[in-house]
């Protein structure tokens, strides 16, 4: 953990050219930097609609009136602020870290990534909220904006402890009440719980833009274990005794296949997922996730 806001200075410097944007997510009400469904004055043409009494006369497209002999009002898209939700998986498996870097767990990475997202949202004037999901249930910070709201979220992150299993759906029901359609949801977790994947699929199907950074340890990528180990799943407390070298190839193949299957499954439901390994720089997954697509860039 580096500093009270979890973001190392080098990472903070590299955050400058990142921009939090959804592809489907649209801004809500008010003025912001995101395309929104609210129409009004703006640069980008949206539609014509029939004049209604009360519309300002200067909004009438007089050239169109000349062609069609009807009053039409030219509407533009209005850029609005976005609401971004950060969902942090705080189940017991998030306490796992690498032996090579003790004290840097998945949860620490999730804290730092969440702080990065808050920082981006704050810079853009967007609203952001935090939901931590652990064995104790759901801890929510309703969306808001501004530095004080960021500090509130960071404080919530600070007190977060990894424990328990993924809660069942009834306990997650407040999420559905809070996260409105068209909002951006970023889930930070290891995605080992089926409940998390199902939640992402459902959110995505319900017109929320869901992003996912799967936090994996370097040991899960490389399986550098040698000699006998007693592997213990922190959530189910199942233990398994195996030799690192002997189990390596099989594990890497199976785990790689599982990750590909997850990628395909999430992509099929419109969830964008990137992997983050604990030994990578913090901004790498954000960069991959938030990079503007080629069409947008053009």
């Amino acid at each position: 953990m580096s500093g009270p806001d979890f973001i190392p200075a080098a990472v903070r410097a590299r955050l400058k050219d990142l921009r939090l944007a959804g592809r489907r997510a649209a801004g809500g009400h008010g003025f912001g930097q995101h395309r929104s469904r609210s129409r009004g004055a703006g640069l980008e043409f949206a539609q014509y609609r029939a004049y209604e009494p009360g519309d300002e006369l200067r909004q009438i497209d007089w050239k169109l009136y000349a062609r069609s002999d009807r009053f039409f009002v030219r509407e533009s898209e209005r850029d609005s602020p976005l609401t971004a939700w950060v969902l942090v998986d705080a189940t017991a498996s998030m306490a796992q870290g690498d032996a090579a870097r003790p004290g840097w767990t998945r949860l620490d990475a999730a804290r730092a990534l969440a702080a990065c997202v808050f920082e981006l949202a704050l810079r853009q004037g967007d609203r952001f909220g935090l939901a931590a999901i652990s064995g104790d249930g759901l801890q929510l910070v309703p969306p808001g904006a501004g530095p004080r709201h960021r500090d509130r979220c960071l404080l919530e992150l600070q007190g977060l402890r990894a424990r328990g299993d993924w809660p069942d759906e009834t306990r997650l029901r407040p999420l559905w009440e809070r996260i409105a359609a068209g909002q951006l949801v970023l889930l930070l977790g290891d995605d080992f719980d089926e409940g998390a994947v199902v939640l992402m699929e459902k959110l995505s199907a319900a017109r929320r833009e869901v992003l996912n950074i799967q936090l994996l340890t370097a040991e899960e990528r490389d399986f550098p274990f040698r000699g006998g180990h007693r592997f213990r799943d922190p959530e189910s407390d199942v233990e398994l005794i195996g030799d690192g070298v002997a189990a390596r190839a099989d594990f890497l193949a199976r785990f790689g296949a599982a990750r590909e299957a997850l990628q395909a499954r999430l992509a099929a439901s419109g969830v964008r997922r990137v992997e983050y390994f604990l030994d990578q720089p913090l901004d790498a997954p954000l960069r991959r996730l938030l990079a503007p697509q080629a069409a947008e860039r053009a």
Partner: protein, 381 residues
Amino acid sequence: MSLAFPLGLLALLGLALPLLVHLARREEQVPTMFAALRWLQARRKPQRRFRLEEFLLLALRLLLVAGLALLLASPFLRGATGAPAWVLVHPALDPAQVERNPETPAHWLAPGFPPLEGPAPATDVPVASLLRQADGELAAATALTVWLPARVTGFDGERPRLSRAVDWRVLPTPAAAAPEASNATPFALAIRHAPDRADQARWLRAAQKAWQVAAGADAPAGDAAIAGTPLPDKVQAVAWLAPGELPPELRAWIEAGGTALIAHDAIWPITGGGTATHDDTDWLTETRLGAGRVLQLHPPLYAEAFPALLEPDFPARLRARLEAAPPAPTLADVAAMAPRTGADGFEPAPRPLEPWLVAALLLLFALERWFAASPRRGAPA
């Protein structure tokens, strides 16, 4: 190096123990948190790989077991080793007189070979025996120097024969006073007889007279009195002519080293014990009592029963029996008794190796424990 108990080497079979310990698949189980357990399959370490782990520790343990087996076999070294030179000084000499290298170990020529720095032991040492002992105990290469006064007792009849050449140093010091030879010394016999046996005591008094005449007129000859009279101070022998048991004070005198001639009907003081030696003439039985001797006459002391009393050589024969055999002549001119070489070397006493072995094993054990418990290893075996 030889083994006193070679069967102890059977314990070398114990070498299989550390080998087995190191061959055994040590289920080293480092507890590891691993959430992706779902995709992990338990794979044990492949069995057929015949791999010994931790060679250094294994070697230490093998050494330890082998050392224990060797300890059981009780190894010892033949061949004495020791100082290159030894100096032996006769106790009659003053150590200051002896020229010697201070580095060389010097000892008194006395039982146990006490070091020369200590007080001088008694001077009547068996020189020849000690020389042989030193010759046997010292290594073959050790040069032996012996310092002696010009005349000492304690030699054998011939020149000592040793396995090595001895540097034989004789100092012209006043020799220990040699006891004079006692061929013509007076012999005093105290006669104690029962009141009714004065006639028997006559014969012995005659013998007393005969000895006195031979030794000189003023020589003491002893006395004759009835039983119960205290013994005079200087007598070589007592004749007890009374029936019945010997009085306790006489027995005490005999046990202290005296010689007694007892009558045929005196009751033998000891039952069973003692070794009797019969004279060829069969008139005397001799046995030992304590440090002294008891001679019992077989016939009663009168001429009818004991014709030898009438023989002219009876006093001489009696005295020959009463006198203990004179000590073998041990006083010798040291210069003439320089040892000869040519004796077979003694087999030196084997030197046991156990203390060294035990120390080495303890060291090995400490080393093994240190390696086994050192933190760079994963888990103690």
